[in-house]
């Protein structure tokens, strides 16, 4: 009795194909799981196309406070994007011959709306409150409110085009609320907060679902 003779090509091909399918499946599964639970592979950078090439770096270099344009960051939910009128307030004088600013001025003349491309967009079922975060970190670290923004938004002062630097998934938020926020505090502030939380004078950052999801 002898086994049927298998051609050499099949003997080589079958394990090869099996290996490819198996490895491919493994890579896809790991990719999906990693994307779901933590940071997806690759740089988590989001860029948006803008109607006007606004230069954050120039405005920061000119020492304009973040809160001068993003006026509600200290008062409410959204940091808000400035109105065209606020841009024109300076730019009717400053650099009014530049081609990008000519676009801005013509939009202001025509009365159309300026639809900026949104860079940081959380899902609709998440409510992020700028006020609470900016006030907490600026009070604890004893710094100006506009020095807090970079914790989440990166060093905007070096960006020609604004981009998202953190992945801002729920893991990112929850890690910080569960104790990761100590990394962004000065040593004195960290010690004071730890003391206040353990003695019960202060609440730890909330981890109730209804803090953000409503």
């Amino acid at each position: 009795m002898s086994l049927p003779k298998v051609p050499l090509a099949v003997k080589v091909l079958v394990p090869l194909v099996g290996l490819v399918i198996g490895l491919g499946g493994l890579i896809v599964t790991v990719g999906i799981l990693k994307a779901w639970w933590s940071t997806p592979f690759g740089p988590a950078v989001v860029k948006a196309s803008q109607p006007i090439q606004f230069r954050h770096d120039l405005h920061v270099a000119a020492e304009i406070d973040c809160l001068f344009c993003h006026r509600e960051a200290l008062k409410g939910e959204a940091a808000t994007i400035p109105s065209v009128q606020l841009c024109v307030f300076c730019h009717k004088v400053v650099l009014k011959d530049s081609p990008e600013i000519a676009k801005l001025l013509s939009i202001d003349q025509s009365g159309e709306s300026l639809n900026w491309g949104r860079v940081h967009r959380l899902p609709d079922h998440v409510q992020f409150i700028h006020e609470a975060h900016v006030v907490f970190f600026s009070e604890q670290n004893k710094v100006q409110p506009s020095q807090v923004c970079s914790l989440c938004h990166g060093d905007v002062g070096k960006m020609k085009v604004a981009e998202q630097v953190r992945n801002l998934k729920m893991r990112d938020c929850v890690d910080c609320h569960r104790g990761g926020y100590f990394n962004y505090l000065t040593p004195e502030a960290e010690a004071a907060i730890k003391e206040a939380v353990t003695s019960g004078q202060r609440r730890a950052p909330p981890s109730d679902c209804a803090t953000c999801h409503y």
């Binding site: 609470a132 353990t198 019960g200 004078q201 679902c209 803090t211 999801h213 409503y214």
Partner: protein, 254 residues
């Protein structure tokens, strides 16, 4: 180690049925504040209409021996009962959720987490008050109402259960207000849309742990009762009974 932390507030609504005129202002205000989808006649007839707060209307006949449809219109009495999620202490909707999308938080609110909800509808079936609403369709607003949507509230998509939240977005705003001013909650810090819009002051909202608050005083009114209290759900909405001058003649309920 002494704990000096202020206790969490416990939110309670008081509905004075005697003052309710059934004008539906609360229904409209709620619809606008909370991005509640619009209802059409067809949706209503399917009993799939969304009304986070609704006015229940009861006809009562002046004559104790006759049913309401047997008496003259002039002898009919009408009772209105605004009904919203009762934020039950022992909520029947909570244990039946397979994904913990609804739970109680430390402020006594019955929270619905939209992104956890998978739409089994068990909670709506187990609710004693019929105040949970399921999105059978993707919500649609006419073009003219697009800028009316409240950015602080999620727009619920298809397949999601939703219900009254006691305007939790306004409670969060109140949280930040008292934190900024470093004080306790007082009346008026948090006003849900229905309470704000009520022209007769039939609705009141506040922190019942604060003994000076209006709701704490109204909760001890002689007329107070809670809906379906005997079922042990422990509602956090307190109703004050409608005063009926001829109630002594009415033997139907005795």
């Amino acid at each position: 180690m002494a704990i000096e932390r202020k206790p969490e507030p416990k939110w309670v609504m008081v509905v004075d049925a005697d003052r309710c005129s059934g004008c539906q202002a609360c229904v409209v205000a709620c619809q606008a504040e909370n991005n509640v989808p619009l209802n059409t006649d067809a949706i209503f007839n399917q009993k799939r209409a969304h009304e986070w707060i609704r006015i229940e209307r009861y006809w009562v006949s002046g004559d104790p021996d006759k049913r309401p449809d047997e008496v003259d219109f002039k002898n009919l009495k009408v009772k209105f009962l605004p009904l919203m999620c009762q934020q039950c202490e022992n909520a029947p909707c909570e244990p039946v959720c397979p994904v913990y999308a609804t739970y109680h938080n430390d402020q006594g609110l019955n929270v619905q987490v939209y992104n956890r909800c998978i739409g089994t509808r068990y909670c709506a079936n187990n609710c004693n008050y019929n105040v949970r609403f399921f999105n059978f369709w993707e919500p649609v607003w006419p073009e003219t109402l697009r800028n009316q949507l409240n950015p602080d509230v999620t727009v619920r998509s298809r397949g999601i259960m939703e219900k009254c939240t006691f305007c939790v977005q306004r409670i969060r705003r109140g949280d930040r207000l008292v934190k900024r001013e470093n004080r306790d909650f007082k009346d008026g810090d948090v006003t849900p849309a229905c309470v704000q819009s009520c022209p007769t002051g039939a609705l009141a909202f506040g922190n019942i742990k604060d003994e000076k608050s209006a709701v704490a005083k109204m909760a001890h009114d002689d007329r107070h009762y809670r809906l379906l209290e005997e079922q042990g759900t422990g509602p956090n909405v307190i109703y004050l009974k409608k005063v009926d001058l001829h109630a002594a003649e009415d033997k139907a309920h005795e």
